[in-house]
């Protein structure tokens, strides 16, 4: 095991950096070859800024097709991520040895609705930080029934929570540093379909997944929010997320993580850099502790180690130049806002459905109390709709059965056309590519 493993776990490391005023930047890096993966982790660790490492898994592993992943490895075919199950715990521990540890925690990012095997291998490899959630890793991907995803995530929380000094390890193994740390789980609920979702629903699902994690024994959590279409609306959403976490997550050590835009990315490197810098400023202003960084290249191919490192440095530099919003973060978080009012109403209504957060989520989707716009999953009602208004804010156009009547006024009456859908999906790409080619049209730094 890594020599410096005796210190902090993932969540503790991030919060310590946050107290020092440093935004932690993290890549979405994953390579199929163990040696390349190790080089990538080392490069991330020594990139300069305060970083944490990532093992992003490939799509075969995400969908449970480990034999297909093994066949590719045997045939020398490159995968789009690190196949942790196919490589197994021993190989993965060797990749991490001397790299991962208390001064450089590593998280596994996967995208799997039923990740029991993944969790099992990462724990045996000495890791204890990952991400996802019963809703956010189910509804946007494929057709795994939500009920099965909820059951799987309960088992995964149990696996992680049991990975504790007293519970899981006999005395002989107590020296193992991993056992002294708290396992960390991050909600993916702040992303969902990646685009065209009003921020209040992203905030609500992120909070509800955190409550689900806590109910199943996880007490070290991060809550995600993905950058959307307007920096002011995003800042409002992050303050709402912080406030709800503060109000509802007693007994949990938590922080906020921002994802750089997850929708259709700018085509030009300059446009991608502007968008990335805006995400970094957003994270600092709104009091987030960690930022998931994207590279300009990943829209087209797997980015190189060097491209990842460059993107981390650019994001950290943008964060250094940013200042937190006036007043304490707590003051910002305390503000009432439209996003907070909507998110609070959604969370409250779901919590009233059942004392068990997993059952409450199932009932909520069955009844349309939660309903993700543009999500075609069979367990999503599909009655809510959203649109991008003229100012670039995401708004509701149809509420379906969402408990937001009297809180949100659905705008616009005409149904969305196919041309408008395409136009909305490319709004961010268009805005930032134009800004990059014409600095007078640059999106104004917020504040």
């Amino acid at each position: 095991m890594p020599a410096d493993d005796r210190s902090a776990g993932f969540g503790e490391f991030v919060l310590a950096a946050h107290r020092r005023g440093k935004l932690v930047v993290q890549p979405r890096m994953g390579f199929s070859d163990p040696a390349t993966m190790r080089r990538g982790l080392l490069a991330t660790r020594h990139a300069g800024p305060t970083t944490v490492g990532t093992l992003t898994l490939d799509s075969f592993t995400r969908t449970g097709r480990h034999d297909d992943a093994r066949a590719c490895l045997a045939g020398g075919i490159e995968l789009n991520g690190y196949p942790i199950v196919a490589h197994g715990a021993a190989t993965t521990a060797a990749v991490l040895d001397g790299v991962a540890g208390g001064s450089f925690p590593v998280q596994v990012r996967h995208g799997c609705a039923q990740p029991e095997e993944i969790i099992d291998v990462l724990l045996r490899a000495g890791l204890d930080a990952t991400e996802g959630g019963p809703v956010s890793y189910c509804l946007p991907y494929g057709r795994t029934p939500l009920r099965e995803s909820v059951r799987s995530w309960q088992r995964c929380c149990d696996l992680l929570a049991a990975h504790r000094p007293a519970a899981a390890h006999p005395p002989a193994e107590v020296h193992r540093p991993a056992a002294a740390r708290r396992p960390h789980l991050e909600t993916f609920g702040g992303c969902l379909m990646g685009q065209l979702c009003p921020p209040s629903l992203l905030v609500a699902v992120s909070v509800l997944e955190a409550l689900f994690f806590r109910h199943h024994g996880i007490d070290d959590i991060s809550l995600s929010y993905a950058q959307q279409t307007h920096p002011v609306q995003d800042e409002e959403a992050l303050h709402a997320l912080r406030r709800l976490a503060g109000e509802l997550l007693a007994g949990v050590s938590w922080h906020i993580v921002v994802y750089t835009y997850m929708g259709v990315f700018p085509r030009t490197p300059a446009g991608a850099r502007l968008l990335g810098a805006q995400a970094a400023r957003l994270a600092v202003r709104a009091g987030a502790a960690r930022l998931i960084v994207k590279t300009a290249a990943e829209a087209y191919r797997i980015p190189s180690i060097e491209e990842n490192v460059a993107a981390l440095r650019e994001a950290a530099a943008a964060a250094e130049d940013a200042v937190p919003a006036p007043g304490t973060p707590e003051a910002g978080a305390a503000r009432d806002s439209q996003t907070y009012a909507e998110a609070r109403a959604l969370v409250d209504e779901v919590r009233q459905l059942h004392a068990d957060p997993g059952r409450a989520l199932l009932l909520a989707f069955e009844r349309g109390v939660l309903d993700v716009p543009f999500c075609l999953h069979p367990d999503n009602r599909g009655r809510s709709r959203a649109y991008l208004d003229a100012a670039g804010w995401l708004r509701w156009s149809e509420l379906g059965a969402l408990p937001l009547r009297g809180i949100a006024e659905p705008g616009r009456a005409s149904p969305l056309t196919s041309a408008e859908l395409l136009d909305s999906l490319h709004h961010v790409q268009r805005t930032f590519d134009r800004a990059a080619s014409d600095p007078t049209r640059a999106p104004a730094p917020i504040g």
């Binding site: 494929g142 057709r143 685009q195 543009f374 075609l376 999953h377 969305l416 056309t417 196919s418 859908l421």
Partner: protein, 163 residues
């Protein structure tokens, strides 16, 4: 996956009934939403099966609802392989012979090309697809023309049958 997974269908119908779906390995859905809106704008009723549709689910849906047209949309580069499994499953059932089926999107794995190569197109056509489309604006126009021609054909047939 259970084949009881057949989706809710619209209660009211106008024009043709069109099923939209992605092949089993493809989890992308924005393209399917775009196709749904496009087909609705052409006056047709759309049942969107969503992503990752296995052959038995498509067959069961077609048996139950008898759509005029099935549109397979795929963008992950592996869609043609799974698309072949879908068309074979549909064409194996003589009761579904009347259903037209097309496929389109980013069908090849090589590079960022939006046009399927002629060999792949030939393979898909000979397996029973009525048309194969790429992912360009021109392909969208071609799809619209195909759909309008099919709708006209169905209307004429219905008129003859009604005499």
């Amino acid at each position: 996956m259970a084949i009881t997974d057949v989706p809710r269908f619209p209660d009211t119908r106008s024009g043709m009934l069109v099923v939209v779906a992605a092949p089993a390995s493809d989890a992308h859905t924005w393209n399917l939403l775009y196709l749904q809106l496009l087909l609705q704008e052409l006056g047709h009723t759309v049942a969107n099966l969503g992503s990752c549709v296995p052959p038995d689910l498509l067959v069961e849906t077609c048996r139950r609802y008898r759509p005029d047209l099935v549109v397979i949309g795929t963008v992950n580069g592996h869609g043609s392989h799974d698309g072949m499994r879908l068309i074979r499953a549909i064409r194996q059932d003589p009761g579904l012979a009347e259903i037209a089926m097309v496929i389109g999107g980013k069908l090849g794995t090589v590079g960022a090309t939006d046009a399927p190569d002629s060999h792949l197109t030939g393979t898909l056509l000979s397996a029973g697809f009525a048309a194969v489309f790429g992912a360009t604006d021109a392909d969208v126009d071609s799809l619209c023309l195909f759909v309008e021609a099919l709708a006209l054909q169905r209307t004429e047939r219905a008129c003859h049958a009604g005499r």
